[in-house]
C-alpha cells in the first residue's frame, strides 16, 4: 500500500511539473467530452429526442459512461501505453522487481488529466437530474456507483486484452481500440437504439449493458429494449468483475509467453 501511495504522489507531481501543458490537456479533455455532449444536444434537437428517449434521459447514459471511462483511463493509463513500455524495455525492468506486474504497469502512469471528462460527465448528470426532476434515493446512488465500478473493472479488462495482444505483436494494436473507445462511444447512448447484434454484443459479450445501462434504466424506471428492470440489476455490474478476472487470466498467460524486445 505504501508503494501505491508513493507511485500516486510521483505521478501527480510529474504531471504538475509541466503546468501550462497540464492545464491545456485538462482543457482538451473537457473539449473532447463536451464535443460528444454537443452531438447529443444537436441530434436530440434535430430529431426531437432520441426515439423513445428524451434528451435528458440520454444524458444520464452519457454522464455515467463518460465518468466510468474517464476513471478507468485515470488509473489505467499504463495498460493503454503498454506498447511503449515493451519497446523501451521498461516492462523488462518491471519483471525483475519483486512486485506484481499488473500493479506496476497500472501505477507506472496515472493520469489525473481525465478529471476534465469527469467534470463534464457530472455536469451532464446534474443537468439531467434537474430537468427530469428525478429524485435520487440512497439505493439509486449506490446502484449507480456500483454500476460505474463494474464498468471500470470491465474497461480495465479490455485494456488488459489490448496489452496481451501487444505482448505478442509488440506494436500497439489499434483494432482493440474498437472495444475500448468504440465501447465508450456506443454506450453513451441507450443500447436499444442499435440493431440487435450490436446491442447483444455490448450487453452480454462485453457486458457494458449489464454493468451500466440496466442500472441506469432501473434508476430512471424505464425498460431497456423491452426488458423490464428489477432487483436483479444489482447483479449486473458483477459481470464486469468476472470479465476483468478472465482478462487477467489472459494477461498472466500472455506474460508467460512474453519475449523481451531485447536491446
Amino acid at each position: 500500500m505504501r508503494y501505491v501511495m508513493h507511485a500516486m504522489r510521483m505521478n501527480l507531481r510529474r504531471a504538475a511539473q509541466y503546468r501550462s501543458s497540464f492545464r491545456m490537456q485538462i482543457a482538451a479533455q473537457i473539449v473532447m467530452t463536451f464535443g460528444d455532449l454537443w452531438a447529443i444536444l444537436l441530434l436530440a434537437e434535430r430529431f426531437g429526442g432520441m426515439a423513445h428517449w428524451s434528451l435528458y434521459e440520454v444524458m444520464f447514459f452519457f454522464g455515467a459512461m463518460q465518468i466510468a471511462f474517464a476513471v478507468t483511463e485515470m488509473i489505467n493509463r499504463g495498460f493503454g501505453h503498454i506498447s511503449s513500455l515493451i519497446r523501451m524495455g521498461d516492462l523488462d525492468t518491471m519483471l525483475t522487481r519483486p512486485r506484481g506486474i499488473a500493479a506496476q504497469v497500472i501505477l507506472s502512469e496515472l493520469d489525473p488529466r481525465r478529471i476534465g471528462s469527469v467534470a463534464v460527465g457530472l455536469t451532464a448528470l446534474t443537468v439531467a437530474t434537474l430537468k427530469t426532476g428525478l429524485r435520487w434515493t440512497l439505493p439509486d446512488v449506490l446502484l449507480l456507483l456500483w454500476g460505474m465500478t463494474g464498468t471500470v473493472a470491465l474497461m480495465m479488462g479490455l485494456f488488459m486484452i489490448e496489452a496481451v495482444v501487444c505482448l505478442f505483436s509488440v506494436q500497439s494494436v489499434e483494432i482493440v481500440n474498437v472495444f475500448t473507445y468504440g465501447g465508450r462511444q456506443t454506450c453513451q447512448y441507450p443500447l436499444d437504439l442499435y440493431p440487435d447484434w450490436l446491442r447483444t454484443t455490448f450487453t452480454y459479450v462485453i457486458p457494458i449493458g449489464l454493468c451500466l445501462q440496466f442500472p441506469v434504466c432501473h434508476i430512471l424506471g424505464k425498460p431497456l429494449a423491452g426488458a423490464e428492470t428489477g432487483g436483479w440489476v444489482w447483479l449486473g455490474p458483477a459481470a464486469g468483475f468476472v470479465f476483468l478476472g478472465l482478462c487477467s487470466l489472459a494477461w498472466r498467460l500472455g506474460l508467460r509467453h512474453y519475449r523481451s524486445t531485447g536491446s
Binding site: 490537456q25 434535430r46 489499434e174 450490436l198
Partner: protein, 262 residues
C-alpha cells in the same frame, strides 16, 4: 526555387507512409466500426429515407478521409523537441513548404490505402446504410477539387500546430486541443448538416468546415454553379489566410527557436 526538392520530399515520404500497412488496416477496422455504429444510430433517429441516406453518406466520407486530419507521425514535433530540427534547418529549402509537401504525401497516400477497402465494405452493408454515389459527374469533379483544397487547409492547420510546438516545446497540450476542436467543427463527431439552420449559417463558413464538410456537401448536391463557386471561393480564401498565418508563425518560430540538447 527548385521544384524538384519538394517533389522528392513528397515522393520519399509517400513511399515511407505506404510501408505502414498494419497501421492502415487497424485504422480501417476502427473507422469501419465507428461508421457502422453511427449509421445504426442515425437510422434509429431518422428512420429510413433520404435523410438517412445523406447522413450515412456524410458519415462514410468522414470516416474514409479521417486519416487526413492528422499530422504525419508527429515527426516534425519530435525533431523540434529533440533539437534535431537543426539538420532540417540546414537544408537549402523552404522548410515550411517542405513540411507541407510531406504532410500532403502522408494524407494522400494514407487515405488512398484505406480507400478501396472502405468502399468495398459498402457492398456488404444493408442497402439503407450504404453511402450514395456522387450526385452527378460534375458533383464528383467539384468534390475532388474541393477535397484537395480541404487537405491543404488541414496541412496548414497542422503547420500552425507545429509552429506553436516550437514555442512551447510540448506537443501534447496544444495539438491535442486543436485536433479535438478540429474533429468537432469539421463534422467528424456529428454531421454539420444536422445542425439547426441558423447554426449552420455560421458553421458552414468557419475554417474547419473547409476541410471535409465543404467537399462532402458538393458530393451530396450538385447545385447551381454560382453556389458552388461561392463555396469553393470561401475554401480558397481560408486556405490563403491560413497559409499566410502559418508561414508568419513558422518564420517567427524558426528565428527564435532554442535548440534542445548539445
Amino acid at each position: 526555387m527548385n521544384i524538384r526538392a519538394y517533389r522528392t520530399a513528397f515522393a520519399v515520404h509517400a513511399r515511407q507512409v505506404s510501408r505502414y500497412r498494419g497501421a492502415a488496416l487497424g485504422g480501417m477496422v476502427t473507422q469501419a466500426f465507428f461508421g457502422v455504429m453511427l449509421v445504426a444510430l442515425y437510422e434509429a433517429l431518422a428512420g429510413e429515407g433520404d435523410l438517412l441516406r445523406e447522413t450515412a453518406t456524410y458519415v462514410w466520407l468522414q470516416q474514409i478521409f479521417f486519416r487526413a486530419f492528422f499530422s504525419t507521425g508527429g515527426e516534425i514535433y519530435e525533431q523540434i523537441m529533440s533539437g534535431s530540427v537543426c539538420y532540417s534547418l540546414l537544408r537549402p529549402v523552404d522548410l515550411h513548404l517542405w513540411c507541407v509537401c510531406r504532410e500532403m504525401a502522408a494524407k494522400i497516400v494514407g487515405v488512398t490505402m484505406r480507400l478501396l477497402p472502405m468502399i468495398l465494405i459498402q457492398f456488404v452493408l444493408p442497402e439503407s446504410w450504404r453511402m450514395l454515389p456522387p450526385d452527378s459527374p460534375v458533383a464528383f469533379v467539384r468534390f475532388a477539387l474541393s477535397l484537395l483544397t480541404g487537405f491543404l487547409v488541414i496541412a496548414q492547420v497542422n503547420m500552425i500546430t507545429a509552429a506553436v510546438t516550437m514555442r512551447t516545446l510540448d506537443n501534447k497540450g496544444f495539438s491535442g486541443l486543436i485536433n479535438l476542436v478540429m474533429m468537432i467543427l469539421a463534422g467528424n463527431i456529428v454531421p454539420l448538416t444536422l445542425a439547426p439552420e441558423r447554426l449552420q449559417a455560421v458553421l458552414r463558413w468557419q475554417p474547419f468546415a473547409q476541410m471535409l464538410d465543404a467537399p462532402i456537401r458538393m458530393w451530396l448536391h450538385a447545385g447551381p454553379a454560382g453556389e458552388w463557386a461561392l463555396s469553393f471561393g470561401v475554401q480558397l480564401a481560408w486556405l490563403a489566410g491560413l497559409t499566410v498565418f502559418s508561414r508568419c508563425l513558422w518564420g517567427r518560430g524558426i528565428r527564435r527557436i532554442e535548440l534542445q540538447g548539445g
